[in-house]
């Protein structure tokens, strides 16, 4: 039945993408496994978490076990240009960028989806935890995963209808413990690697060290001041501080102080007390609406402002197709420019935008 339908699965050697591939094989699809070789700093090639030689070998063994073809595709150049530059530029512009979002849009559902189509695939599948719902008018909705803890719809909010039309997410309807069981049932050679929150291309170091090596111009000292203009100290470069950060400011004060704002024009960091930190509204740009059409009227939604934060209620006012405003019911302390604000109506992801 599915024998004629070719599906390309993005594999990483990890349990999720391996089980995604196994489930598609079981359903009778003609499955091809692919893995991207992504960019690493020279001298750090074995440290890119997404694609160390070990991980490629592991994915290859999984593919062999499932008896499917497997190809490692070089994406270093396009990844460096689209993702790493975005990351550095984001910090240079005073934000805390989320390069995984760009990687998903431009690399996985761009570069790799193109490769899949050229391989004659009807679908492109990944091990992300999220669900797709095809309605009878041909529209596709992106839904949160059944496994709420693992739900990854946040990092897929920028996909459009054309991309979703080629997408399969085999893990959206099952929970992580089932995924592990399926891996055992198929006897897949999988190592339980630690799931890291760090970015794949940072290797073993921190993002600060990475920026110092790759964008040394960000090492631009400036003043740390309070809202009333009092000088408190000197910072090492705005890029190395995040809104809400308390530790590592190197200043002493009777109360703990937090980064409130970064003035990119004057290279000044403004700090203040915890109570001053919250904001009740935000503006988002580079907005994507999953349906392809912005809502015509303002509406209430559940909103996630970080990948791992829980959803909170707010009132969304679309300005145009690419920008919206949110007013929250209560002030939030971790509204961070560069991260995404993703909108939900119950289980349905409506889309989202990058916080300004």
């Amino acid at each position: 039945m599915n024998k004629q339908t070719r599906v390309v699965v993005a594999m990483s050697g990890g349990v999720d993408s391996s089980v995604a591939a196994a489930l598609l094989v079981e359903k009778g699809y003609e499955v091809i496994g692919v893995m991207l070789r992504l960019w690493s700093e020279s001298g750090q090639e074995t440290h890119n978490r997404c694609c160390t030689p070990d991980a490629v070998a592991l994915a290859r063994r999984v593919a062999a076990k499932l008896d499917i073809p497997f190809y490692a595709i070089d994406a270093k150049k396009v990844f460096r240009k689209e993702v790493v530059e975005y990351f550095i530029d984001g910090y240079a512009n005073g934000t805390t960028p989320n390069p995984c979002l760009v990687c998903n849009r431009r690399i996985r559902w761009g570069f790799l989806l193109d490769k899949a189509v050229s391989l004659g695939a009807r679908y492109f599948a990944t091990g992300h935890y999220a669900r797709l719902d095809h309605n009878k008018h041909g529209y596709i909705s992106l839904l949160r995963a059944i496994d709420r803890v693992k739900d990854q719809s946040y990092v897929l909010h920028m996909l459009n209808q054309a991309q979703l039309g080629h997408t399969m997410l085999p893990l959206g309807g099952i929970i992580k413990s089932q995924v592990r069981q399926i891996a055992r049932d198929f006897d897949l050679p999988i190592s339980e690697r630690n799931e890291s929150q760090d970015l794949c291309f940072l290797g073993n170091g921190s993002y600060r060290e990475f920026l110092l090596r790759n964008a040394s111009y960000l090492d631009k000292h400036g003043l740390i001041i309070k809202g009333d203009g009092t000088h408190l100290g000197v910072h090492q470069g705005q890029a190395f501080y995040t809104i809400g950060q308390r530790k590592g400011l190197g200043i002493s004060a009777p109360h703990p102080l937090y980064v409130l704002e970064k003035d990119i024009r004057t290279n000044v960091i403004i700090v203040g007390q915890k109570e001053e930190l919250g904001k009740i509204e935000l503006e988002a740009e580079s907005v994507n609406w999953i349906s392809g059409e912005p809502p015509k009227t303002p509406f209430h939604a559940q909103i996630k402002i970080r990948y791992k934060s829980s959803a909170v209620r707010g009132f969304v006012t679309p300005h145009d197709a690419r920008r919206f405003h949110i007013e929250f019911e209560k002030p939030l302390r971790d509204i961070t420019p560069g991260q995404a604000a993703v909108l939900y109506a119950d289980d349905r992801c409506l889309g989202g935008g990058i916080i300004k």
């Binding site: 091809i32 490692a72 595709i73 270093k76 490769k115 050229s118």
Partner: protein
């Protein structure tokens, strides 16, 4: 009489150069291994081409055998004066004693389309 793979190899070379625009044979036309054909195709990613051929059941190679998977142009092809826009699209095809005429025909059916697909992607 020359072995079958020698004649099939010659047929493969002739047809490939005739059917595919911007295709060149690399190496000497005659003084080469009797089962071996190697080409460069302008503005093609050789690794991408290998994948498309492999999916259709043809195992070939690209670049130097000792640098498989490396996206840099082969040093040998570069030293032969071939520019990188050609050298990246190298393809090496070898035949065995059991290779049949029908297999060569189906390869020649697949190859032009695969090259075209690669060029579509490079153009993007």
């Amino acid at each position: 009489m020359s072995p079958i793979y020698f004649r099939l190899r010659n047929y493969l070379i002739e047809e490939t150069l005739e059917m595919i625009p911007d295709a060149r044979l690399t190496g000497h036309p005659i003084e080469r291994l009797p089962n071996h054909a190697s080409f460069v195709f302008k503005e093609v990613d050789g690794n991408n081409l290998l994948m498309l051929l492999d999916v259709e059941g043809f195992a070939c190679s690209s670049g130097s055998a000792c640098r498989t998977g490396d996206p840099q142009p082969s040093n040998v092809l570069t030293a032969m004066g071939i520019s990188s826009e050609w050298a990246l699209g190298s393809l090496r095809v070898t035949l065995g004693t059991q290779t049949t005429f029908n297999e060569i025909e189906s390869f020649l059916h697949v190859l032009p389309k695969a090259v075209e697909r690669c060029r579509d992607q490079t153009a993007r």
